[in-house]
C-alpha cells in the first residue's frame, strides 16, 4: 500500500473533474494505491499509525477503481464526494434503487459521457454503474453487499 504521488493524484483529480464535474476531492485525505487499479482513502493520522504497525491488511476505505482512464466509484467513494458530483449522475426511483442494489441492469434512454455513471436516490449516492452500448446500466455493486 503506497500513497499516490502528487502527479498521480493530479491525474486522478483531472479525471474526476472531466468525468463527474468534481472540483474539490478528498482534500484532507491520503489516497492510497492498492494493487494496480484500486484506490483507498484514509485520514493522515490513520496512515501514520499504520506505518508503525505490523500485519496491516487494509487501511481506510475503498473509494474507486481506475480502468483505462475511466473511474468507477464505490458506494462509499461516491458518498464521500457527495454533491461535488455534478455530471454523469442518474437519479433513480425506488424501484430502480432495488434493482441497483441487486446489481440488475437498468434501462436508460439518456446517453452519458464516459463508461460509468453514478446512481443517486434522494440524497444518497450509490456508487457507479457501467454504461453499455445497448443502453443498459450495469451497477457495480460487489456480490457481498447485493440485496439477495
Amino acid at each position: 500500500m503506497k500513497p499516490l504521488s502528487p502527479r498521480e493524484r493530479r491525474f486522478l483529480e483531472n479525471r474526476l473533474r472531466s468525468l463527474y464535474g468534481v472540483e474539490a476531492c478528498f482534500n484532507d485525505l491520503v489516497l492510497i494505491k492498492c494493487g494496480r487499479r484500486r484506490i483507498r482513502a484514509a485520514t493522515k493520522e490513520t496512515m501514520e499509525l499504520a506505518s508503525r504497525l505490523r500485519g496491516v491488511q487494509q487501511v481506510g476505505l475503498y473509494v474507486m477503481k481506475i480502468s483505462d482512464g475511466d473511474i468507477s466509484l464505490s458506494v462509499e467513494g461516491s458518498q464521500l464526494l457527495d454533491d461535488e458530483i455534478k455530471d454523469n449522475v442518474i437519479e433513480l426511483d425506488e424501484e430502480q434503487v432495488e434493482k441497483w442494489m441487486k446489481a440488475i441492469p437498468i434501462k436508460t434512454e439518456k446517453t452519458y459521457r464516459g463508461r460509468y455513471v453514478v446512481g443517486k436516490f434522494n440524497h444518497l449516492y450509490l456508487g457507479s454503474a457501467r454504461v453499455s452500448r445497448n443502453g443498459l446500466l450495469y451497477p457495480q455493486i460487489p456480490k457481498w453487499r447485493r440485496i439477495p
Binding site: 485520514t43 490513520t46 491488511q57 481506510g60 476505505l61 462509499e76 432495488e98
Partner: protein, 271 residues
C-alpha cells in the same frame, strides 16, 4: 445523512422501534414487516443489526473523537463499527483479528459502514504489545469465549460445553487481557468482555490482570435502566479480589437477552 433521517426512511417502510436508554445510537426493532437485513439501508451501511446486549462493551468503553482505539478481537466487526460511530471520523480505530476468513468479514462490514479512520490488522492479539506498547487511549478485549450467554440462540453451545474448554479459553483470555493492557497509554482504559458466564473466563481473568499489573485499577460501570449484577468475589471456596464487585454480569434472564460479562480497567499514570 443523520440518525433521524434514517429512522424516517425505515418508518416509511413500516418498521417501528424503541430507543435503548443506555445505548447512544441503539434501537430495538419492535415491528419488522420486512427483513431489515435485506433493505437498502442495511446494504448501504446506514444501519447495523446486532443484539442489544452486544452493544454494552462499547458503551462502557465510551470512545471519544480523536482517541486511538484498539479492538483486539474485532471480527466480524459489530463492535468495531460501533466504536467507529463513537469516534465520528476523528482519531484512529485499529481492528485486529487472528483469523484470515474472519478478517474478510470484518473488512466488508467496515467498508459498508464507511469507516475512513480504520486500520485492519491480521495477527495474534497476544503479540500486539511487541510493536504497539502504550499506543492506545482505549482498548477493547472482546475475548473468544465458551459463549454460554448465547445458549438461548444456539443450543449446540450447551451440548459442546465442558469445563476443560472453559479452562483452555481462560488461559488464552489471560494472555489477551495482559496484551491489551500493555497496549494502553497510561491513563487509558480497557474494557474486557465475554458472552459467557463462567468465573474462570471472567472474574478470574480480570483478577489475573490485577495481580500482574500494579497500575491496573477497576472502575465502576453505570448503565441506566439495564438490569445487571455485580461480579462474583467468592467462588468454589476461593476468595477473589473484592474490587471485582465493580465488574458486571448480565444474565440472560435479566433482560431476556444474551448474557455478558464486562469489566472496565483503568491504567493508572499520567496520560
Amino acid at each position: 445523512m443523520d440518525e433521524h433521517e434514517v429512522l424516517e426512511m425505515l418508518e416509511e417502510k413500516g418498521v417501528s422501534f424503541k430507543k435503548i436508554p443506555w445505548a447512544r445510537y441503539g434501537y430495538v426493532v419492535e415491528d419488522e414487516p420486512i427483513d431489515l437485513g435485506k433493505t437498502v439501508e442495511h446494504m448501504l451501511g446506514l444501519i447495523y443489526i446486532q443484539a442489544p446486549i452486544s452493544m454494552v462493551p462499547v458503551e462502557v468503553l465510551n470512545p471519544k473523537p480523536g482517541e486511538k482505539v484498539l479492538d483486539l478481537c474485532a471480527a466480524p466487526g459489530s463492535k468495531s463499527t460501533q466504536i467507529a460511530q463513537f469516534l465520528d471520523g476523528l482519531g484512529v480505530l485499529v481492528a485486529n483479528d487472528v483469523s484470515f476468513d474472519r478478517v474478510k468479514a470484518l473488512a466488508s462490514n467496515l467498508q459498508r459502514f464507511g469507516v475512513l479512520n480504520v486500520i485492519i490488522t491480521l495477527m495474534d492479539g497476544r503479540k500486539f504489545p511487541r510493536f504497539a506498547r502504550e499506543c492506545f487511549d482505549k482498548v477493547l478485549v472482546d475475548a473468544p469465549c465458551s459463549s454460554l450467554g448465547i445458549v438461548s440462540k444456539n443450543w449446540g453451545i450447551a451440548r459442546s460445553w465442558n469445563l476443560e474448554l472453559a479452562k483452555r479459553l481462560s488461559k488464552l483470555q489471560r494472555q489477551l487481557i495482559i496484551a491489551g493492557f500493555d497496549c494502553l497509554k497510561p491513563g487509558g482504559e480497557l474494557v474486557y468482555a465475554t458472552c459467557t458466564l463462567t468465573v474462570e473466563e471472567n472474574e478470574m481473568v480480570v483478577q489475573y490482570l490485577l495481580e500482574r499489573r500494579e497500575n491496573a485499577v477497576l472502575k465502576e460501570i453505570d448503565l441506566p435502566s439495564l438490569r445487571y449484577r455485580c461480579g462474583i468475589v467468592e467462588w468454589d471456596g476461593m476468595k477473589l479480589d473484592e474490587e471485582l464487585e465493580k465488574t458486571i454480569r448480565i444474565m440472560p434472564y435479566d433482560n431476556w437477552a444474551e448474557g455478558f460479562y464486562v469489566a472496565r480497567v483503568l491504567k493508572e499514570g499520567d496520560s
